[in-house]
Amino acid sequence: MASQSKSPKRFAALDSLLQGLKRSRGSLLVLAVLILFPFVFARITGTSVNEGPAKYWQGQFIAVFIMAIFAMSYDLLLGYTGILTFGHAAFFGGGAYTMALFLTHVAPRFVKTYRVSLPGGLDVTEPSAFLLAILLVVVVSLVLGLLFSIVSVRVKGVYFAIITLAMAEAIHILSKATDFVKWTGADEGLHGVPVPAWINPTQYRLRFYFIALAFAVVMYWLARRIVNSPTGRIFVALRENESRARMIGYNPALYRTIAFVVSALIAGLAGALFSVWTVSATPSMTSAVTTVNALIMTILGGMGTLVGPMLGAAVLEFFGQFLYQWFGARWPLVFGIIFIVLVMFLPYGIVGTWRLRSAQWKRRWSLRKQRAAAQE
């Protein structure tokens, strides 16, 4: 180490990069596996990458990636900032509906009336329409996040949990109200959303797989950065003891707003991507069930770990399917019982319990070593 610190600056930069890579080698390994997965899987099953079981399983993973990011955004609020909100479906559904509504009702007209071309004469009308949709999703998510955080400044604790539930419920009711059937399709929702051809999930499944994976990686990296930043530490301080954080001089309202806006943004983008993936937007995306799903994934994986909720999403999406086939119509019932058992006996989730146990074991090991050394 001493010799390295003397080395020139550019080496130091490289060095820290290497250090960083070494520290996150677990994540990188997972990433590598996920990148290779479609090809390896296709090779094993002996089919082409873009058809049959390979295609099907890519689809499964895409759903997992999106839900993982959604659950992770919920963990930013529940696990890190300690805010119990039941309105997360509003962000997800808001993103999904914004995307779907724009693509269905606005984008076609946009493409018809405007022409956008790059200096080289390349026609980018359709991509720019899509870009506009994403921008709109960002704006809507920010507005929703701000709306919720404004409420959170004034209303606390249980009142807040209820009011977020009610706000999300109001959005849900409106999303399936027959008054707006022309635009939203009411109960049915929007189906067959005309997504741009180059991102069509049925046609270009592998491309979409990598888009979803890239999205997940970027969002995870973003969340990780925030959580490990001083801001993230203030989130945790707020969770542990709000009045103390206030006394030290941090404005809880400000940091809660930051947490909400970031979380809403990530959830909204996840929702938007989900609506592209399913080429639809349905009232179930804004319903309380969606929030509860995020909640369960977070609890199952472990609150306040970021990785946990993602793992929870994967477990729920994969096993849920098998179990659904097993139990049939009884599955929701079994699922509820499992959830209660989890809450009562495994409150730290998979990742949390694992970390707790491994820390215990490590301590026990070192104690044993010390004792052995003392005896000698």
Partner: protein, 495 residues
């Protein structure tokens, strides 16, 4: 001085009253007498229902800081239980012996305790032992239920035609096959009692007088179990033979009792271990509401059922006044020029009766006194020598019972379906938030405001050719307004 004091204490009431009067005058003028009165009465009906959900919710929260997400499920269970009891009680009578047998087993805890606590169980195995015992008990319960056609029993009321009640009577499993089921349940109960006695834990205090009471309870419940086992069919038939009105009022009581019993069981098993982790408590009750909804869906399909109104409210014709209704029992009553269903008036009366009953309990009974004291300072109540935990169980049972009573009251008016709990729970939440957590009078006023807002909102929505969904969504705005002005609700304790 006097005026100032009255203003201080009643300003919220006064402002609300003035606001309501002004709105009523405007409404009366703009809508005309007929539609105004009809809408107002509908609003009162809804308000009464919301109050029945909110009352339990608010007391439970006030005393224990528990936001009970399974409260709507209690409402739903009340509706189903009442509907079953009224239409065809075969299901309830078929399961009663099992539940009673389980309870009979559990009540022996104080008898086992002095022995079990002396067992030489190492401290670190005690938890595991208890868990194992509970798991065995659950397995016993599952074994006991094997082969019992629970769904078949549940379905009996679904096909009821109500033309000839006796034709509905369904045979139960013969005693020769059935007898082992209550026995296994009793054994499971004994195991749970063993776990509760915490084998090996010598720090427990044996209360004198607990053992004799336990013996009495044991004998009582065993006798009840035997009686219930023998009257599975005849009991159901005699209920069906009963005068339909009497059966209706009996089903109100049965629904409330079942709700209270389930509430107590929930508090003891699920809520009590989690008081120290409030977030997880919310999650656990949420999971429970999910389980209960799925369970009813499994037993009775996700279809909505309409419970028929008892003859007291369903004679053809129209009574010219409420007084005339008392002799004619007609379907509708004329009030201030409006023809209104008499059953909805009954719901309003039920809500009012519940409010008065609650007021009496809270103000004039020792339990009410303890609740009011506990809302303010739980530790001090405990320090006076009062077993606050038992009060918690009682209050949870009371709250669940009130919700269940509301549910069965609502059953002949609203469709009986698994999602009814969630719907009413949402409104109950909004009600208590408006009224202020922990205040039952706040809940009453919140329910009144919300009910009227919904009724008039629906009226307006219809007028502007919108759907009721818009008015439903707009109740959130009312809640937001109230909370912005008073963050702890109209009558809430300061947080």
């Amino acid at each position: 001085m006097r005026v100032k004091a009255i203003w201080q204490y009643g300003k919220v009431y006064i402002i609300l009253l003035i606001g309501l009067i002004i709105l009523s005058v405007i409404g009366w003028r703009a809508m005309g007498q007929q539609s105004f009165v009809r809408t107002a009465l509908s609003g009162l009906t809804l308000g009464a229902l919301y109050f029945m959900v909110a009352a339990g919710l608010t007391i439970i929260f006030g005393l224990m800081d528990v936001l009970n997400f399974a409260h709507g499920a209690m409402f739903m269970i009340g509706a189903y239980a009442g509907w079953q009891f009224y239409t065809n009680p075969t299901f309830l009578f078929g399961l009663a012996p099992l539940v009673l047998a389980l309870v009979a087993g559990i009540v022996v805890t104080p008898l086992i305790q002095p022995l079990a606590m002396r067992w030489a169980v190492p401290a670190r195995w005690q938890r595991t032992l208890r868990a194992v015992v509970i798991v065995v008990a659950v397995i016993l319960i599952i074994v006991a239920l094997l082969g019992l056609d629970v769904r078949g029993l549940a379905k009996t009321a679904m096909v009821a035609t109500m033309v000839d009640p006796l034709a509905e009577a369904t045979p139960q499993e013969p005693l020769a096959v059935f007898w082992k089921r209550p026995l296994l349940f009793f054994l499971a109960g004994l195991l749970i009692a063993l776990a509760q006695a915490r084998p090996g834990d010598r720090t427990q205090v044996i209360r004198s007088g607990a053992a004799p009471r336990a013996i009495v309870a044991l004998v009582g419940f065993v006798l009840l179990t035997v009686a219930a086992t023998l009257t599975r069919e005849s009991g159901a038939i005699s209920v069906l033979k009963m005068n339909a009105d009497a059966r209706f009022f009996l089903s109100l009581a049965a629904g409330a009792l079942i709700g209270a019993g389930i509430g107590a069981a929930i508090e003891i098993s699920l809520v009590r271990p989690l008081y120290v982790r409030p977030t997880f408590l919310i999650l656990a009750t949420m999971g429970l509401s999910f389980v209960l909804r799925e369970l009813t869906q499994l037993l009775w399909d996700p279809l909505p059922y309409a419970m028929s109104r008892p003859p007291l409210f369903s004679q053809p014709g129209k009574a010219a006044s409420i007084l005339e209704w008392f002799s004619k029992h007609t379907l509708t009553v004329e009030i201030m020029g409006v023809t209104f269903p008499s059953y909805r008036l009954f719901i309003i009366a039920l809500g009012l009766a519940m409010f008065i009953l609650l007021m009496l309990v809270m103000n004039y009974s020792r339990l009410g006194m303890t609740i009011r004291a506990g809302v303010q300072d739980r530790d001090m109540v405990e320090a006076l020598g009062i077993n606050v935990r038992r009060v918690f169980t009682l209050v949870f049972a009371l709250g669940a019972g009130l919700a269940a009573l509301g549910g069965i009251g609502a059953a002949p008016f609203a469709p009986v379906e698994p999602v009814m709990g969630d719907r009413f729970q949402m409104q109950g939440f909004i009600t208590v938030v408006i009224g202020g957590m922990g205040s039952y009078s706040g809940a009453a006023i919140g329910a009144l405001l919300l009910g009227l807002a919904r009724a008039f909102g629906d009226f307006l929505a219809l007028k502007f050719s919108l759907t009721p969904a818009v008015s439903e969504a707009s109740t959130v705005i009312i809640m937001a307004l109230v909370l912005l002005l008073r963050p702890a609700g109209l009558f809430g304790k300061k947080e």
